[in-house]
Amino acid sequence: MTGGTALIQLRGVGLEVLAPAPTRILHPLDLDVAAGTSVTITGPSGAGKTTLASIIGALQPPSEGTYQFAGSEMMGRSKRDLAAFRSQHLGFVFQHSHLIEERSSIANVALGITDPTMSRMDRDQRCQHVLDLVGLASLANRRAADLSGGERHRVAIARALAKSPSVLIADEPTAALDQPTGQAILDLLAQVTARGATLIVVTHDVRAAEMADQVVSIVDGRRA
């Protein structure tokens, strides 16, 4: 961890599932992530990287330990509270971008804005702005199905950035991309921390690890 107060603080956080048979997915671990820093979670397939990211992203609760975000306890919160938390603080970039194929780039980006009080004009301006940030302003009205793999990832990043999250979680953002495109995506993600957001990247890509302020290595569900 480099500098700053811990925005994310995990203490003894682990995950064990009971069905169909008791299985330990993630052994208890501690992790501090400072605001505005980048963390890369690496490890072999099935090691528990994505599980750790999903716990940090409040997508699933851990079975043990404590999780504090900006000093607030996350454990025991209702699903509604967790949804509101994700809506307010987190942005996600998934491995396969998960765009709605039949809708335009800008419509996909608009899905990332969950604030119902934002006017339509402000929303459109915001979407156009983030598309500009990822270099796709000219493709705002192109259908997602007609975009290349790199462009789709950029739209997914724009969607995650649309609500100005304080934490951006990216799961294998370069896994399905060729090397130059993957590098471009990593450069784009690096700009996120430059703008003050915290970046958590789950990846096998050594380039991502080299760029990170902190590297967390997970092997067989344990922090190595």
Binding site: T50, A53, S54, G57, L59, Q60, K79, R80, A83, A84, F85, R86, S87, Q88, L90, G91, F92, F94, H96, H98, I100, E102, R103, A107, L111, G112, T114, P116, T117, S119, R120, R159, D171
Partner: protein, 395 residues
């Protein structure tokens, strides 16, 4: 305000989701459309058929009122009393038409033929009201002529039997008949093709003539009124109160039943059949929309999981699916109503019926379609709201 904006954003999102998968939307809407179309067509056809039945029943319903008295003054009812009844809007004619005697021996003075026939005492209004027509001889106006005391009208069949009927194209000759020893000139021959067919085999006298010649106690005196079909029961009630305000005459309403209850029962049955048919097809449509929506939710697990991961609440995701369902129901309702009414109109046109449609029908069936869609969308909406945000992460 925020809620309203949020709703329109949700509605736009739901509409976009439907448009993204037009064939899914068509499949989803077809069930409800079929239900709404069937319901609207069934209701309109049932209503139209009800109108046809009303029309046919009107032709069968009683068009006359009969009030019978046990104890009538010798002079019968007064003209003023009868005028009160005649003044009613549905009444076209009214008068006395009494069975003075059920069987009197009648013979022609110059022949040996003897028949035992009823003697009817009537006035002009009574003949008109009973639908009795003078087909030969003097008109019924002469029934009120006090100067002509020994005249009678004879029914068509009796006239044939007695041989007083004129040959085709010939005028009535001067004939006489004898009733209970009294001779009467045959003033005219009458016929009745309606509900008083026994007139064809009867002798008709005026009240003064009957009292002075045949005699009698005035039993079973009847007043007959010709009325507009469907109004018989109401007129009969009024006539009884008007003709016998004190109740001394023991008046009885002898108006033939006009099938009012049967008509209502048949109409109710028709409506129930129409509603049951529409409801059943609506139920099928509801299941169809639930099924299609459920498949749609299954195909959109990743998208819905993504929305959940991005912070959409379960409520909002459920509302999104429910709004899709409602929009599909609204569109299907409008289209289904149009199709149903067009089919009903075509059916009525083919049968030469006048289309009868309740004014509120479109609103009711469209509302029903939307309601059925919303009910059908509840389970898929719950399923969608239950999708874990992890689905997006893992898929």
């Amino acid at each position: 305000m925020m809620w309203r904006w949020s709703f329109w954003v949700l509605a736009a999102d739901a509409a976009a989701s439907l448009l993204r998968r037009p064939w899914h939307a068509v499949g989803m809407m077809s069930g409800i459309m079929l239900g709404v179309a069937s319901a609207s067509a069934a209701i309109v056809i049932a209503d139209t058929q009800q109108g046809q039945i009303d029309l046919r029943f009107d032709l069968q319903r009683s068009d006359h009122v009969v009030v019978q008295a046990e104890n009538v003054p010798r002079d019968g009812f007064s003209a003023d009393q009868l005028r009160l009844v005649a003044g009613l809007e549905p009444v076209s004619s009214v008068g006395e038409f009494s069975n003075w005697s059920d069987g009197e021996p009648v013979t022609r003075s110059i022949a040996s033929t003897i028949a035992t026939v009823p003697v009817i005492v009537a006035d002009r209004g009574g003949l008109e009201a009973s639908g009795t027509e003078v087909i030969h001889g003097a008109s019924a106006d002469a029934l009120g002529d006090p100067g002509r005391t020994a005249i009678a009208w004879v029914g068509r069949e009796l006239a044939d039997d007695l041989g007083v009927a004129p040959a085709d194209g010939q005028a009535l000759t001067d004939s006489q008949i004898v009733v209970r020893g009294h001779a009467y000139s045959v003033a005219g021959i009458v016929a009745n093709d309606g509900g008083f067919g026994y007139v064809e085999n009867s002798v008709i006298l005026s009240r003064p003539v009957a009292v002075s010649t045949v005699g009698g106690t005035g039993q079973n005196v009847r007043v007959v009124a010709h009325v507009r079909p469907g109004s018989a029961a109401a007129v009969a009630g009024y006539a009884v109160r008007t003709l016998d305000p004190s109740g001394d005459l023991t008046l009885m309403d002898k108006t033939p039943a006009d099938g009012e209850k049967l008509l209502k029962d048949v109409g109710g049955d028709l409506r129930r059949v129409g509603a049951a048919l529409g409801g059943f097809v609506g139920l099928v449509g509801m299941i169809a929309i639930a099924n299609t929506l459920m498949m749609s939710v299954h195909h959109r697990l990743r998208e819905l999981g993504l929305r959940s991961a991005m912070g959409w609440s379960r409520r909002r995701i459920g509302l999104l699916v429910l709004t899709e369902s409602g929009i599909a129901g609204l569109v299907a309702g409008v289209l289904g109503t149009a199709v149903g009414l067009a089919c009903a109109a075509a059916w009525c046109w083919l049968h030469g019926w006048t289309l009868i449609m309740p004014a509120v029908l479109p609103c009711v069936v469209i509302g029903g379609g939307v309601a059925a869609s919303l009910v059908g969308g509840l389970l898929p909406a719950w399923r969608a709201a239950s999708i874990s945000p992890l689905t997006a992460m893992r898929s």
